[in-house]
């Protein structure tokens, strides 16, 4: 009797505790809110072009952009709420291998551009803390998107680039303030997985290959999205003619390739780039690498983009230290602070140059795909 009463009491207690949890907002999965925001987001083609131009600093902030941000407040709020949720399960069925359907990255990029615009509006109103908060949110979106696919990693990097541009522009517009700068530095340091790692994507692609490189699945896979129809037909012929051994050898080659890419990415950038180029060339002459040649994106380019993103992040972190020194002393130092994060293209510190209106951090190594070096200019509002 006593046990029965205890059980009932426990049941009521658990039920009363469980109900509010089930109805709690935000939900414990950020993806729900991102999907909601994607449904609520409204941007026509003309405004989409304007937003892009605004982001590239080709047009000034105008009333149309302000109206667009205003009319998308519900979507923006859903995204901001999502960024405060740690877990993000997009509901992707990874067992479908290459044929899995990812979330609409286009909508998420669109939303990120709107949040960039909102940050700039806050900055124009003098609310720099709020504006920089949006940059932090953009980093969190990128982190949530960076998943088990090359494409999700690339989309994550592209949103990080928006966040970096936004942060640099706002820091250049605002009068350096110690409290805000320390807050921003702490916020950035707290974001787990920043700068973004390509490791989950590599692991995911490896497993996708194990699922999809089979007689049953490859015909379907190869029918999608080829620009070069003749090349597609050539690969399809190989798929149709392939026996079990052919597919087994291709699976093993895919697996090895992903492992080799992962190992190459651990090397310093110039060596990693050279190694990845070599790996791809080897695929072209490897009879067991039919699907790699057909499907793999140029990994050396992904390596370059990843390095560029991490270098830009380092430039922002180094700039923050310089802004902090300026905020405390009203002067820029003559040299970079010890231990400042460096340029990952060369593995060396940035070359630091004081300019008339602020400072510039120069990379010492080149982007080997574009044969150019990057410079990050920051202004100081006096």
């Amino acid at each position: 009797m006593r046990t029965g009463l205890t059980s009932i009491t426990l049941f009521i207690l658990v039920s009363s505790l469980a109900t509010p949890c089930a109805l709690a907002y935000p939900p414990d999965n950020a993806a729900v809110l991102y999907y909601k925001a994607s449904l609520l987001c409204r941007v026509d083609d003309e405004m989409s072009t304007d937003l892009h131009s605004f982001r590239k600093d080709n047009i000034e902030l105008n009333e149309k952009i302000k109206d667009l941000v205003k009319s998308n407040q519900e979507a923006i709020q859903a995204v901001l709420d999502a960024t405060e949720v740690a877990d993000c399960n997009w509901g992707i069925d990874y067992s479908r291998g290459f044929e899995l359907m990812p979330p609409s990255y286009s909508a998420l990029r669109q939303l990120s551009t709107i949040i960039f615009a909102e940050a700039k509006i806050h900055a124009a109103d003098g609310d720099y803390r709020e504006a920089l908060g949006r940059c932090i949110s953009l980093h969190k979106i990128a982190n949530h998107i960076n998943d088990r696919l090359f494409i999700s990693h690339l989309v994550g990097i592209s949103i990080n680039a928006i966040a970096h541009e936004c942060t640099a522009q706002i820091l250049s517009d605002a009068t350096p303030d110690t409290e805000t700068l320390i807050w921003l530095r702490d916020q950035l340091a707290q974001i787990e997985g920043l700068p973004l790692s390509i490791a989950p994507a590599l692991e995911g692609e490896k497993q996708a290959g194990a699922v999809s490189i089979t007689i049953d699945k490859m015909t379907n896979v190869m029918k999608v999205g080829f620009g070069d129809k003749a090349f597609q037909e050539m690969v399809l012929e190989k798929v149709r003619a392939g026996d079990e051994m052919f597919f087994a050898r291709n699976r093993a080659a895919w697996n090895q390739y992903c492992s080799d890419v992962a190992a190459a990415l651990e090397l310093p950038y110039p060596q990693a780039h050279a190694k990845l180029q070599q790996l791809y060339k080897d695929c072209e002459t490897n009879p067991d690498a039919t699907f790699m040649v057909a499907l793999v994106p140029a990994c050396e380019k992904i390596c370059t983009l990843s390095t560029r993103s991490k270098t830009h992040y380092n430039a922002i972190m180094t700039a923050l230290e310089l802004y902090l020194i300026y905020a405390r002393t009203s002067e820029l130092p003559d040299a970079l602070p010890a231990g400042a994060a460096g340029d990952l293209f060369s593995g060396k510190p940035f070359r630091y140059e004081k300019t008339d209106d602020g400072f510039t951090l120069h990379c010492q190594g080149k982007d080997l795909d574009k044969d150019k070096t990057y410079d990050y200019a920051f202004k100081i509002k006096k």
Binding site: F98, E99, R109, L149, I151, S212, V224, P297
Partner: protein, 149 residues
């Protein structure tokens, strides 16, 4: 009063819209009338108008109208970008599978993030499934009309 040049500009900028069903109906009506006039079959239309408009003139008019409508239908069918015909290049490209993992990956390989965006645009451009507004009254009306409630 607007100048001739302004009128010309307005006309040049103006776009004409008609849907397939309306075009088809106009075409069918005209072809029926043409057929009737050519056969000389007596009907209300003929008896009313044949007194004021000569038979040959009516035939010419109907034939010209029919040609215009056929031309409009053909242009509409082949030129209108939103039309996705099964089996056509656009139809193939617009399948939802083109934005799966490998589809996006290949798009990126072709032209970077811009190509990925284009792939989404091609696939979802015609998607008009999102209602801008839905009221309880509208839902109740719809359910009542369908006999679902």
């Amino acid at each position: 009063m607007r100048s001739l040049r302004e009128i010309e500009k307005s006309v040049a900028k103006a776009s004409l819209h008609s849907d397939d069903a309306a075009n088809q109906k106009v075409l069918n009506d005209l072809l029926t009338e043409l057929d009737q006039v050519q056969q000389g079959a007596p009907n209300g239309f003929r008896s009313k108008w044949s007194e004021s408009i000569g038979r040959r003139r009516l035939v010419k008019l109907a034939a010209a109208a029919a040609i215009l409508v056929i031309a409009a239908l053909l242009i509409d069918h082949y030129v209108r970008p939103e039309t996705v015909r099964p089996g056509s290049e656009l139809g193939t490209e617009a399948r939802v599978e083109t934005v799966n993992a490998i589809g996006l990956s290949l798009a990126y390989r072709r032209g970077g993030m811009e190509a990925v965006e284009q792939q989404y645009l091609k696939t979802f451009k015609n998607s008009k499934s999102r209602p801008t507004r839905l009221s309880v009254e509208e839902l109740l009306t719809e359910l009542t009309e369908n006999g679902d409630s």
